[in-house]
């Protein structure tokens, strides 16, 4: 089971994207869990994820996260994030984990 963690400022807008990604994963019959966390909380729960996807608004924190974990840390592209393009973001995450 693969675990994807989305991180943003307060965990609000990413939770929206998480819903869409979960629906997409379910449609495809994938065995992944996807969750959203605010930045502070994410730092404490790094072990519970196989990949971290940062919202573009906190893209500046990528270096800090990368220092704290050896798991892949990616910043979601602004346009994909804004348009809530769940399939594309999910594809990118899956490719990164394999």
């Amino acid at each position: 089971m693969k675990k994807i963690m989305l991180v943003c400022n307060a965990g609000m807008s990413t939770s929206l994207l998480v819903q869409k990604m979960q629906a997409e994963a379910k449609n495809r019959g994938l065995d992944v869990t996807i969750e959203a966390r605010p930045m502070a909380e994410a730092m404490e729960n790094l072990d519970s994820a196989d990949i971290l996807l940062l919202g573009p608004q906190i893209g500046y924190a990528k270096g800090d996260f990368q220092k704290a974990t050896d798991k892949p840390v990616e910043v979601i592209a602004m346009v994909d994030y804004g348009r809530m393009n769940a399939p594309k973001i999910l594809d990118a995450a899956l490719a990164e984990m394999n």
């Binding site: 502070a40 573009p56 500046y60 804004g82 348009r83």
Partner: protein, 479 residues
């Protein structure tokens, strides 16, 4: 989309701002406030129930008895928040510094803060009772009420020095700055000592890890707390004062004065913060550090004043709720108005699609889909209203409060509260504030409309250019 020198300046600005905002102490301060925010929201609800709901059907003694409930909540939240914030900031700093024992930092922070408190308080007492005893028998005792002293209840006041007390002046809103400073300093000092190998007590193999862990922080903790205690003793012994008092007069008061010397300081900060969001970086990177702590302090004091039934002084009119309720309608940049404009006036399919996707979160003031999807980031025509609309609303709402046309904000409503409701809640149910919020939506729509038109033209133009370029180059180009 922008090109040349402008682009590189904006990039530089974004990079520097992100660096500052991501600085570990500032980030911990922001995380700390975010962590204790729920108790402020809870306090706000209790204050509203106490001051708006209970008086609807209760009076006199029954009202006072019921209000004891809300006052109890206030005591545990508003009046105690500085202690909590101090510990939480220490905890967040430890996590952000990747220090293993964060909970020890919480303990050290809170201990250090209370260590700096005065041990004797000079305080007003409601009435005075004295008792004189000799051996086992009471010689005299009397309650000194006003008539004994030949005065009336209105003209007399008693003060006395008391020990064994901690004042809510230091643990509530007034102590927040002290909490921030001590939480950061104590944790930094403690972590420095903890990383010193010579100070770690090693019990050797075979000791349960939890026991070993608690021993390894003992010496660093002891040294840190001792330093604070020495500092506290020196301040009292040499100057007859204490750190909370010094911070209150030297730091909190001037900063609060600056914020309330007109709307200007707040406008400057939010102009920069919202401009930063136009470059894709969350505005709280700036505002969360420079404005929110002080503005939150003011609204917390207002909540306490409102709970006590006292009037709000004019230097408390500029506070966090002016931003959250009146300059953040639909999220940063008041983008709800842009969405409404799009629904009514736009024929652009991509814009209408993104507006449909964004309207529901937008009602709850969440607007990342608008910012990144519409987009507002690096879209010069829309960056302009995104920055100026909130500025106008900050100035106008502050002005209306000063004129007395709307009540000052007295309750911290969650920033996710939808418009109209948020104005009602934050002003203690002033209907005029709700009307003003509706007018704001009209004003915002009027300002956004021409910029939306320009943006659509520019997008259309760019699309055509890209198609031409694609045809000319004969290969697809990524958008």
């Amino acid at each position: 989309m922008a090109s040349g020198g402008g682009q590189s300046f904006l990039d530089k600005f974004a990079e520097v701002s992100a660096k500052i905002g991501n600085q570990v102490h500032l980030r911990s301060l922001r995380d700390g406030f975010a962590t204790i925010m729920p108790i402020y929201i809870l306090a706000g609800i209790a204050v509203l129930i106490n001051n708006v709901v209970f008086p609807l059907f209760l009076t006199d003694d029954a009202l006072a008895a019921a209000q004891y409930w809300g006052n109890a909540v206030t005591l545990g939240t508003l009046s105690f928040a500085a202690i909590l914030l101090c510990g939480v900031i220490g905890y967040c700093l430890a996590n952000n510094k990747r220090f293993g024992n964060a909970i020890a930092c919480l303990v050290v922070s809170i201990c250090s803060m209370v260590i700096m408190f005065p041990q004797t308080l000079t305080t007003a007492v409601a009435n005075l009772t004295y008792a004189v005893s000799s051996g086992d028998s009471a010689v005299a005792s009397q309650t000194l009420d006003a008539s004994v002293l030949g005065a009336t209840a209105d003209t007399i006041s008693y003060t006395g020095d008391v020990t064994g007390m901690i004042s809510t002046t230091n643990t509530g809103a007034n102590g927040l700055f002290c909490a921030i400073i001590i939480g950061l300093v104590a944790t930094t000092v403690f972590i420095a000592f903890s990383n010193n190998k010579h100070l770690q007590i090693n019990l050797g193999e075979g000791i349960p890890p939890a026991v070993g862990k608690s021993f390894s922080v003992m010496l660093p903790m002891l040294i840190t707390l001792s330093i604070f205690a020495v500092f506290s003793a020196l301040l009292q012994g040499l100057f007859g004062t204490n750190l909370p008092a010094i911070i209150s007069t030297a730091v909190s008061a001037p900063l609060m004065g600056l914020m309330n010397a007109g709307p200007w300081a707040v406008i400057v900060i939010y102009t920069v913060a919202n401009l930063l969001f136009c470059l894709g970086i969350h505005q709280s990177t700036i505002s969360g550090v420079l404005a929110e702590p002080i503005l939150t302090m003011v609204i917390v004091e207002n909540m306490a004043l409102y709970a006590a039934g006292e009037p709000i002084p004019a230097d408390h009119y500029m506070n966090m709720q002016i931003i959250n309720s009146f300059a953040l309608i639909g999220g940063s940049g008041c983008t709800l108005m842009l969405l409404l404009d799009t629904f009514i006036f736009s024929k652009h399919k991509a814009s209408r699609d993104i507006a449909k996707l964004s309207i529901l979160p937008g009602i709850f003031n969440i607007n990342e889909p608008v910012i990144y999807g519409y987009p507002i980031v690096y879209n010069i025509p829309l960056m302009i209203p995104f920055v100026i609309v909130p500025d106008i609303f900050i100035a106008a709402t502050y002005g209306l409060t000063c004129l007395g046309w709307i009540s000052p904000c007295v309750v911290q409503a969650p920033w996710t509260t939808p418009p109209v409701l948020s104005a009602l809640l934050s002003t203690g149910m002033d209907w005029r504030a709700a009307v003003w919020q509706v007018i704001e939506i009209g004003i915002g729509m009027a300002i956004y409309l021409p910029f939306m038109k320009v943006s659509e033209k520019a997008q259309q133009h760019q699309l055509e250019l890209e198609q031409q370029a694609n045809e000319a180059a004969g290969h697809a180009q990524a958008a």
